[in-house]
């Protein structure tokens, strides 16, 4: 029987180990070399001369398509016309609170009411409970604007303490303090913003906003509430 030469085995294993270590280090170096930061050449901004100083009396809707039909139960009627309006800002800077329900929806000066800066609300008393099917609101539509933190709530409690239902809320960061909403912001157009009333029973409608993209003020040209009388 041949005698085992341990020295050779140890030498062989050590050699293999060294070779493996060398190969590994080379390989990892190669891998490291291959891992270079990917530098993407991003497009640079393009130059153009002084842009348009825009003042458009009638603005086309920016998002293009007109609103599609909205279906409501038969017998639904406009229930907010000439109904009393109150507000968190009882003495508006421009216009009067009655403009909110006077039926005039023109975008020109003299048809909107301006409330102070920060979160403000207007509230319409429908004088009786209704099953609310739709609320359409025109804040200001002679300029492309977006009103911030638009929240529409309905209730049978005039103080909005009990039984408050929020129909629309796009206050994403809860800056108005009524809870964060997930509805999208929208650009004001002559069509107004239609909010689904979902047949909620309510007598009072309260609409919040918190300034807009043009200034910190809050405006209303008109609010229309459509509902079915409660039998």
């Amino acid at each position: 029987m041949k005698k085992t030469n341990y020295t050779n085995i140890v030498g062989f294993i050590t050699g293999c180990g060294l070779l493996f270590a060398l190969a590994y280090s080379l390989l990892s170096q190669t891998q490291e070399q291959e891992k270079v930061e990917l530098k993407i050449q991003l497009p640079k901004p393009m130059f153009i001369g002084t842009p348009r100083n825009i003042k458009t009396p009638n603005l086309e809707p920016v998002t293009g398509k007109p609103r599609g039909p909205f279906y409501v139960p038969k017998g639904t009627e406009l229930v907010s016309l000439k109904k009393p309006v109150t507000s968190s800002d009882p003495q508006p800077v421009i216009g009067e609170l009655s403009y909110v329900t006077d039926g005039e929806k023109s975008g020109e000066d003299g048809y909107f009411v301006e409330l102070g800066p920060g979160p403000q609300w207007v509230q319409i008393d429908l004088k009786a409970p209704y099953l609310i099917q739709a609320i359409v609101v025109w804040h200001y539509h002679s300029q492309a604007r977006v009103y911030r933190d638009v929240i529409v709530q309905v209730s049978e409690d005039k103080d909005f303490v009990n039984g408050v239902v929020t129909l629309f809320n796009n206050d994403h960061d809860n800056s108005s303090g009524l809870g964060a909403g997930r509805d999208k912001e929208y650009i004001e157009t002559y069509e107004g913003k239609l909010i689904d009333g979902k047949g909620t029973r309510a007598r009072y409608v309260r609409l919040w906003s918190n300034g807009n993209t043009a200034n910190d003020m809050n405006h209303y040209v008109e609010v229309e509430v459509y509902g079915l009388p409660v039998k």
Partner: protein
């Protein structure tokens, strides 16, 4: 006015002018044009690169004179620049305009110079554009220097005057190629004044015999003028060449500056967005009232005084030509106003060059008014009322309606609301792991992009696409800024993972900020002091 008193009052005036120009210099959001100029200057500052573009942006003095200001502020890159540094340059040239007025020397009385300087120092539109990083304030400073030194050279055509004339003409041309208008109207004004003055001379000497040696005298005069004039022209060409060639790096730039004439002439008559009627500039200055409860903006007191100054200056043109500087200034201002009003292309800052002339003439008119009034108290009340009016207007124009369209000088101005977008992006970058290296996609046409490149200058991974069709997918952008028009082209499904927020870039121009839900949730958690949050972000 005694020399010492004049010096003290003038220093006091400079201090007041400096204060009113420097106060809250970063109040107004950067205008599209300012951001464009800042970007161009950033390239020069960082890489030493500048090449004259005959299509736009005018001459290079603004950028080269900005360099020492940036160096002194210790700012070496575009990202390090601030509004204060950039607008500090135009503030400096606004003050230089007042000092240039002193060069009028004996051609205006000390009182006229003083009151003209007061009105220049406190003029609402001049202050407004002194706080605006575009060429206009430099153009007014060099323009005023040019018209004064042209007059001085005309009076005394020696080498000293021709040197100043050449330098001011060179700097004026290197600031804006459209200075050709100023060259033309000032020479025309000079010719008209000379002609009127000669007319008076002829009337006086018509009864005397004609001088036999007059032709010889004219020839001697021409010889005397020729060499100094050649020096002025040489200096003009040399300075223009140095600037337009980017300090000899691109000699072609100098020739391009002449080629730009056809471009600017085309722009002048086919102004596109900037076509305005003949009376546009005067309507801005006379009476302007925005909607709702907007106050009245008006320069009527100064326009009336300027009218008095103009009439007096023209009526008082004498046969002694050295006394006719006021008349020359009046004709220059009128001719320049006429040319700028005839050109259909109009932006409010273009009127500064002739309005500065009117303001100086208002000083002349005011001094005349003071001379007429014999009661000291009445003089004080008049001066006080005028200063109160201009102070009130300065406040409205520069510190209250600084960015709102009610202000007549606000033109295509970035809305203050835009700064909310910038702040929101900044807050989000504090939440994102990549910080300022986060990828931001901007998809908007160029006229709806600026001043974003200024406000996003500290972000390293910002890409600008001019149209939605250039971007197949919004991924991997966790923050996407789009013009409202481009956003409307994306499908609802694609926008679904994003929170959509709108911000006003300018009146009627909205930008959409898309924030991916995961980033938004991290932000909200941090804002409300959630598990790993920091309150008060």
């Amino acid at each position: 006015m005694r020399k010492k008193a004049f010096a003290y009052l003038f220093i006091l005036l400079l201090a007041a002018a400096l204060f009113v120009r420097l106060y809250r210099l970063d109040l107004r959001p950067m205008h599209h044009d300012e951001a464009n100029q800042a970007y161009k200057f950033g390239q020069l500052l960082e890489k030493g690169q500048y090449r004259y573009d005959p299509a736009d942006h005018h001459g290079p003095t603004l950028y080269y004179f900005s360099l020492p200001f940036a160096w002194l502020s210790g700012q070496k890159t575009y990202a390090e620049l601030t509004e204060g540094t950039l607008r500090g340059i135009t503030v400096f040239f606004g003050l230089l305009t007042l000092l240039v007025l002193l060069a009028a020397g004996k051609y205006l009385t000390a009182s006229e110079k003083f009151w003209a300087a007061v009105f220049l120092a406190l003029s609402p539109p001049l202050i407004y554009f002194s706080r605006f990083y575009i060429q206009e304030t430099l153009f007014v400073a060099f323009g005023l220097a040019f018209i004064i030194f042209l007059w001085r050279f005309f009076q005394k055509p020696d080498y000293k005057e021709s040197t100043w004339l050449g330098i001011s003409a060179g700097l004026l041309y290197a600031t804006k190629e459209t200075s050709l208008i100023v060259f033309a109207t000032s020479v025309l004004a000079l010719a008209v004044v000379w002609f009127l003055s000669c007319g008076k001379n002829r009337k006086r000497s018509s009864h005397k015999s004609e001088s036999k040696g007059s032709q010889k005298e004219v020839l001697t005069e021409i010889k005397k003028v020729a060499l100094p004039l050649a020096l002025a022209i040489l200096l003009f060409l040399a300075i223009s060449f140095v600037f337009y060639s980017s300090f000899f790096q691109h000699p072609q730039g100098f020739l391009d500056s002449f080629r730009a004439f056809s471009n600017y002439s085309h722009k002048a008559v086919e102004p596109g967005w900037h076509r305005h009627g003949f009376w546009y500039y005067f309507s801005l200055l006379f009476y302007h009232k925005g909607g709702g409860n907007s106050p009245v903006f008006s320069e009527i007191p100064f326009l009336l005084l300027a009218l008095i100054g103009i009439i007096l200056s023209i009526v008082r043109i004498t046969r002694k030509n050295s006394e006719n500087f006021r008349g020359y200034l009046a004709f220059f201002s009128l001719f320049t106003a006429l040319v700028y009003s005839v050109i259909p292309y109009k932006t409010p800052w273009n009127m500064l060059i002739f309005y500065a002339g009117f303001v100086i003439l208002a000083g002349v008119g005011f001094v005349y008014g003071l001379e007429l009034i014999k009661i000291r108290q009445a003089k004080i009340i008049l001066a006080g009322a005028l200063l109160f009016w201009t102070g009130w207007q300065t406040y409205l124009v520069n510190f209250y309606f600084y960015s709102y369209p009610d202000n007549p000088y606000v033109y295509a101005q970035t809305s203050p609301d835009f700064l909310r977008l910038v702040a929101r992006v900044d807050e989000l970058s504090q939440v994102a792991e990549e910080g300022k290296n986060m990828f931001i996609r901007v998809i908007a046409p160029p006229d709806e992009t600026w001043p974003l490149p200024w406000y996003l200058r500290k972000y390293t991974q910002v890409g600008y696409w001019t149209g939605s069709e250039q971007v197949e997918t919004l991924e991997p952008g966790r923050i996407v800024v789009m013009s409202a028009g481009e956003a409307a082209k994306r499908s609802e499904k694609e926008l679904e993972p994003y929170i959509t927020q709108y911000y006003s870039l300018r009146p009627d121009v909205l930008l959409v900020l898309l924030i991916r839900q995961d980033l938004w949730e991290s932000y909200r958690l941090r804002r409300t002091g959630g598990p790993s949050g920091i309150k008060g972000l």
